[in-house]
């Protein structure tokens, strides 16, 4: 799966297909940092990456980005310093100063395209804020209604970028007909097609920016989505048919009231069904009028078409973003190299023997391993000048937990590469005691899946992989 340079290429290519059509690029947040925190000992690399992402978003021509809860991990001052570099509007209506309760970022921004005035507002979900920050996240219902009262009247189309939990986004969509589109972050494991709820379309682009959502909108002065009235009419007619079917059984008697006189429960149910029928008939009448109105073209509804574009690794790279990412990788690598020199591993009893040690007894297995990509995993990183990137290193060396990867920056030569002990476990004791009991004979799928996961390995299959590296 490709990265930001592929995304930049795709965005420009789709926008270029129909140059006459104005376009906006929006991001619902959680842009800068990983889930699970800005890793201690790797803050520098994290901040370098965040800065490069903002530059890449500038190059892609993003118009507005919401502050996601995860974006606050390096603190508000860092976010504000990045916002100064950003050419896009960075939005949050509910990230406020704890002391003054004033918004720290812009709550919303007006975007204009050929007479359509779009208001984009941002809401931030639960945030990890460093201690002693003068910042807090206000509940959305304390800020959104007031802002909508002010802005919705003066704009044609209102878009909310939100990293709130999914039920909150759902509630907002159900409550506010004057929010026409909600783009949500952090809620979906996969892409979800845009869903209409009342007069709001709820959209989600899925995790880690692997998909680019595209909405082609034909926005009309009615400020109303087309499918709703029609869909509601269809479902209301269906409900009415069901109620009338139930009533038809009772109405077979010419005088149901008298017939059910001695059966109060059934009489009550009959009355309830009658009430429901009256309400549904009124709804059908109202919705039919709306649809007829639409069909006459006097109140033409707005329509949208939704699709997703995957960031395939085979796509070309956008040169400007590629150059930004290449420079970032070099800087991250250089920073890691310095850290490795500055903090050599603590002396102590090493539990790893190194692959050469294993080979002194297990010659044929060692020779077979040397022919596998595992043996040259470190060289592969070095070739890409990423051998000091603590993000990448843990999967390219022997015996490093996946937490920080800092120790991996200064490992001895014989542990550079995915050696024997990566799969069979540390074996210094095994050699000293000459016993096979304490070593893993065949690695489990879970062990392999520590590293062989998307986006690094898109089509890992345990059986085939074991055959490839087995000995």
């Amino acid at each position: 799966m490709g990265g930001l340079s592929k995304k930049a290429f795709q965005l420009a290519a789709i926008a270029g297909e129909d140059e006459a059509k104005p376009h906006f690029a929006l991001d619902a947040g959680n842009l800068l940092f990983k889930q699970g925190g800005l890793v201690p000992g790797r803050e520098g690399q994290g901040k370098l990456t965040a800065t490069a992402i903002v530059k890449a978003y500038n190059a892609m021509g993003y118009d507005a980005v919401a502050v996601g809860g995860l974006d606050l991990q390096a603190g508000v001052p860092f976010l504000q310093s990045l916002a100064k570099e950003a050419k896009f509007a960075w939005l949050s209506a509910n990230l406020v100063s704890q002391s003054t309760k004033k918004a720290i970022m812009r709550p919303g921004v007006t975007l204009q395209a050929r007479g359509i005035k779009v208001w984009v507002v941002g809401l931030t979900g639960a945030a990890i804020l460093p201690a002693n920050e003068d910042a807090m996240i206000l509940p959305w219902d304390q800020v959104l209604p007031g802002l909508l009262d002010k802005e919705a009247k003066t704009h044609d189309l209102v878009v909310l970028l939100s990293s709130l939990p999914a039920p909150d986004n759902q509630r907002i969509a159900e409550t506010y007909r004057n929010i026409h589109l909600v783009i949500q972050a952090g809620v979906a494991a996969n892409v979800i097609s845009a869903q209409p709820i009342n007069n709001t379309v709820l959209a989600s682009a899925g995790p880690q920016g692997k998909q680019l959502g595209v909405l082609e909108i034909d926005w009309q002065p009615s400020k109303r989505w087309a499918s709703q009235a029609r869909e509601n009419l269809a479902s209301t007619r269906e409900a009415l048919a069901q109620v009338q079917f139930q009533l038809s059984a009772i109405r077979q008697d010419p005088d149901p009231e008298t017939a059910l006189r001695n059966r109060p429960e059934q009489l009550n149910a009959y009355h309830l069904l009658q009430k429901r029928e009256t309400a549904l008939v009124a709804d059908v009448e109202r919705l039919s009028k709306e649809v007829a109105e639409e069909d006459r073209g006097r109140d033409r509804p707005s329509t949208y078409r939704n699709r997703f574009v995957a960031m395939e690794a085979t796509l070309p790279d956008q040169p400007q973003v590629l150059s930004l990412i290449t420079r970032l990788k070099e800087e991250v690598n250089a920073m890691g190299q310095q850290q490795g020199v500055a903090s050599p591993p603590a002396p102590g009893r090493q539990i790893y023997l190194g692959s050469a040690g294993c080979g002194s007894c297990h010659q044929s297995q060692h020779a077979a391993w040397q022919a596998t990509p595992h043996a040259s995993a470190y060289q592969a990183l070095a070739k890409d000048r990423q051998q000091f990137n603590p993000e990448c290193l843990p999967c390219h060396v022997t015996g490093i937990a996946m937490d920080q990867g800092k120790e991996a920056l200064s490992l001895p030569e014989d542990r550079r590469g995915v050696g024997c002990e990566s799969c069979h476990g540390p074996v210094r004791d095994h050699r000293e005691r000459r016993q096979g009991k304490d070593m893993i004979r065949k690695p489990s799928p879970e062990m392999c899946l520590t590293c062989h996961v998307p986006p690094h390995d898109l089509d890992f299959e345990y059986g085939a992989a074991i055959k490839k590296v087995g000995h």
Binding site: T49, I116, A203, L215, I217, C392
Partner: protein, 41 residues
């Protein structure tokens, strides 16, 4: 109502939606990049 007012009203009612709306808008959206610029080599 004179003919100028009629023409003005006609243009306001009929020309505006054609110019200001209905020409289509392309909206790209994303989220949750999570600091991922591209996978390791």
């Amino acid at each position: 109502m004179n003919w100028i007012a009629v023409v003005f009203l006609f243009l306001t009612l009929h020309a505006f939606p054609g110019v200001a709306h209905g020409q289509g808008l392309l909206l790209f959206y994303s989220s949750d990049v999570h600091g991922e610029t591209e996978p390791c080599g």
